[in-house]
Symmetry: D2
């Protein structure tokens, strides 16, 4: 475990679960509700320590996870939640080496997750039409050292993307159905498309657009995260939760060849059959549903 240095990020986790994210700077002091901790008490020692405030209250000094960082992002808009981000990364097949485009950049939460996932050999191109948002997203991405993996473009994607044959595209904007033709031109045939929208009306409009343009394997899903109070003698869900972040829409871009497949039935078949039968990756034929 290397020693923490000036400029590193550290997560201070208090006795009541409150979390403070700081960037270590010599001479600075963290003021918490339970007392002060000088940054110099952390610089030069490894993270993974218990430190004490001047009131002798213990805090865990930890390396922040990507999850911690996403939740603490400086934001000017609603950011995507980690529960959705982790799932989108899997559904869009994001991994080291992939070329991905997104719009808009927003506060950069998805940008950061994408950049972190395509490292060290892929790239992310992030389009944003608002200069202030792009500036914030760039700053957030830079603060985590991920700027080498991201190309920001201040641009209305109505004019199209510069890239072609990319692996995947994710849209987090108000009217994704307006840009599906642009997506089709930028993503390779059969590539991955995803979008997040908050309302059922937007889902309906996006589905209509996806079907019209011949996207395949269309899916709509929602993820609910339910935290529990981690008390062994009184285990129970927390009283109140975030009950809605958005609807996730996934599809494969139109393939070479003229045919379009109907979307209906796909997720249903999927949902019904997955857990019932052992499936085999090498098998010749693998019908999942009845």
């Amino acid at each position: 475990m290397p020693n923490a240095q000036a400029g590193d990020l550290a997560l201070l986790y208090g006795p009541d679960g409150k979390r403070f994210l700081i960037r270590l700077q010599p001479g600075e002091v963290l003021h918490t509700h339970r007392g002060m901790i000088p940054h110099d008490a952390l610089i030069g020692t490894p993270l993974g320590r218990t430190v004490y405030t001047h009131l002798d209250m213990p805090f865990l000094a930890l390396e922040p996870s990507l999850h911690d960082l996403l939740l603490k992002l400086r934001r000017a808009s609603q950011i995507m939640y980690p529960k959705d981000i982790g799932y989108v990364l899997l559904k869009l097949n994001i991994s080291s080496g992939k070329r991905v485009i997104e719009a808009g950049s927003g506060s950069g939460a998805m940008t950061i997750a994408l950049a972190n996932a395509i490292r060290p050999h892929g790239c992310v191109v992030s389009y944003e039409v608002r200069p202030d948002m792009l500036s914030l997203a760039r700053k957030n991405v830079d603060s985590l050292g991920l700027l080498p993996y991201v190309d920001f473009k201040l641009r209305d994607i109505a004019a199209g993307f510069d890239e072609t044959d990319v692996d995947a595209c994710f849209l987090d904007l108000r009217e994704p159905w307006e840009y599906l033709e642009q997506v089709r031109q930028a993503v390779k045939p059969g590539g991955f498309f995803g979008a997040l929208v908050p309302t059922a009306n937007q889902v309906i409009d996006t589905l209509t657009g996806l079907q019209r343009l011949g996207f395949g394997a269309i899916e709509v899903e929602e993820l609910l995260l339910r935290p529990y109070k981690p008390v062994p003698g009184r285990l129970r869900p927390v009283d109140r939760i975030v009950a809605h972040t958005g609807y996730l829409i996934f599809a494969r871009t139109p393939t070479l060849g003229e045919a379009t497949l109907p979307a209906e039935g796909a997720p249903l078949a999927n949902a019904v059959t997955i857990p019932d039968e052992p499936l085999q990756p090498e098998s010749e034929s693998d019908p999942p549903g009845t």
Copy 2:
């Protein structure tokens, strides 16, 4: 888009949403419920095509995503679901270059996701006590070309892990509370711990163990995935869903220094405060709760 070759995996997506995963082999034929497709119709052409069965039914021939592959794994046990896997990867801070241990290997679903995420510079060590399971997991990992990133060990982890100072540890076994001391010795101070268990009783026992051994930042969460029928004129959730896969437990391993923090309040504070206030990564002080 390169041409598909013998040995490549391809996902055939039928007109009613049925999915077939095949490994391309010259001379082989895929028999679907809508007719036959010879593998040779795919070999030598790029994926992302529409192909037709001998009954003239269209199928999308697609590159499978990691998500598709996980759902189609040859399995001898309940596998982890992608919804949980994507979230665990974020919570355990898994990314390129990390050193991770897991037990047990099971059918290898989590192993595959971990290996894919730490590429190309990290490593996964996967412990399994049953030879048949280890053999299946290894085969599944190998079939996706990820074996170079995984070290399988046929071992009861009651005897401890060989590794020390690893970044993270994930346990998917019946009694995780029996192995927390072993986890503490293998993971670096303040490192990431995760577990998945199906019953509330197991959650209670694991929480008790985590508190006793001084783990910090303890959280219990559950993810529910709700698919919708993607029909624009009749948008609605599907009738029946998988309503329970397991409870997710997260914690940070004990830190250097004697103090232990109470777990209660942590997730609650977290849940209450995230969306209410703009948070800033570089800020000196960042109290998330009220």
Copy 3:
């Protein structure tokens, strides 16, 4: 506890949780998967007994609850689920003495619940356009002895309801927005309106209609029922559940006086404020929100 008599309904609950609903008839025999039980073993003795099949397997012989009966109804259409029915009864303020109309009758599940709740002094008028459905609903209502409380009408409600000044109206049909003017004329000013629809599109159309006609206090809600395996040593949710029955829509019919209130904000304010502050029924002023 009176003795069971010929013609009574009895619920037989098997050792594995299977349930059989029978109407006691002298000389008849119930054939279960665990053996036979002659009805005469039940007739003339009180329910609340354990009886044995000819294979010596124990069954509980129980008085069926309304909940049991609703789930066992002979049906020709999707019936409403008890979870929704119980909530609708409260929201529509149904109790002894109320006058209620519904359309359509369907298989009579909601009719039965309404009739049971308005007993002994109220009445239910149930409209249905299909003769076969009305016949089935009437038969189901009659089988539970509730026919004295229900007036069935074979009628398209496009022509309006016969009744005026009723307390509440519930619509369980495909296009509730087509009949809101008819509802307004039948229900007393400020009375209770409810509807159940399966798709988001129908919710949108119904909301549009409700706003246009000046309905107030509009709410849309969904109830999810999550059963657990009742095993004390392995408590956990069941794997698969019914995840969607329908969206519930509630409103108050237009009041005397011209003004219409905007719907937005109502349920939100409600959701936010209910549990946070003690509220008082007799208080002069009771602002629930912030």
Copy 4:
């Protein structure tokens, strides 16, 4: 529609969805955030009117539903939520004429719902050990005119219930498993038992007690209520919801005869089979499972 009179309850529903519950009194004035409304503007006219504040803001003056009243109860403890209450009434087979006991009285929310449901011919006996709570519950029940149907008893139920052969018993207290023998003696054989507890630990202990004492048809369930913003152009779930009120436990009291049935499988079989097949109340044999 009769005219509202002094002493009646009225619900004032504001233009932004805020709700005020008042008891009409000559000369009194309701002060809202949007202006004042004199009670005399309502007394002597029917409810179901739009009234205006002195600032000319419209309010709906409505008859409150039982649902409205339950949410506005003067409370000294967490009350049961209407979503749970409506379901419990169905599961415990509560209707006009039934004899029901409950403990404790709490703030009287469940007492009110029970009393309203057994009217005009049944009775509720409500046990409470704390004089202040009993006093509040009685006051709340009285304020809705339901006192004739409720018999309050200031008593620790460890000493047993006075009643025997009642139809149903509901426990809303910390340790329901301590009183199951008392329940068995008070409720008729095969009668209805229900309980609400907030933690998984309490569920486990209650299940253990129910099995030991031979209760049958044991079920554990949870109800989640998800409100939507009722805006037709932007339909979406509200951001934050009450995610946990409690676990509901249901069982039938021990029957005459010695045998006890295993609980496992019951709810599962139930959950799996209900919607798949048409069921018939008069049928001789009705196996719901596979």
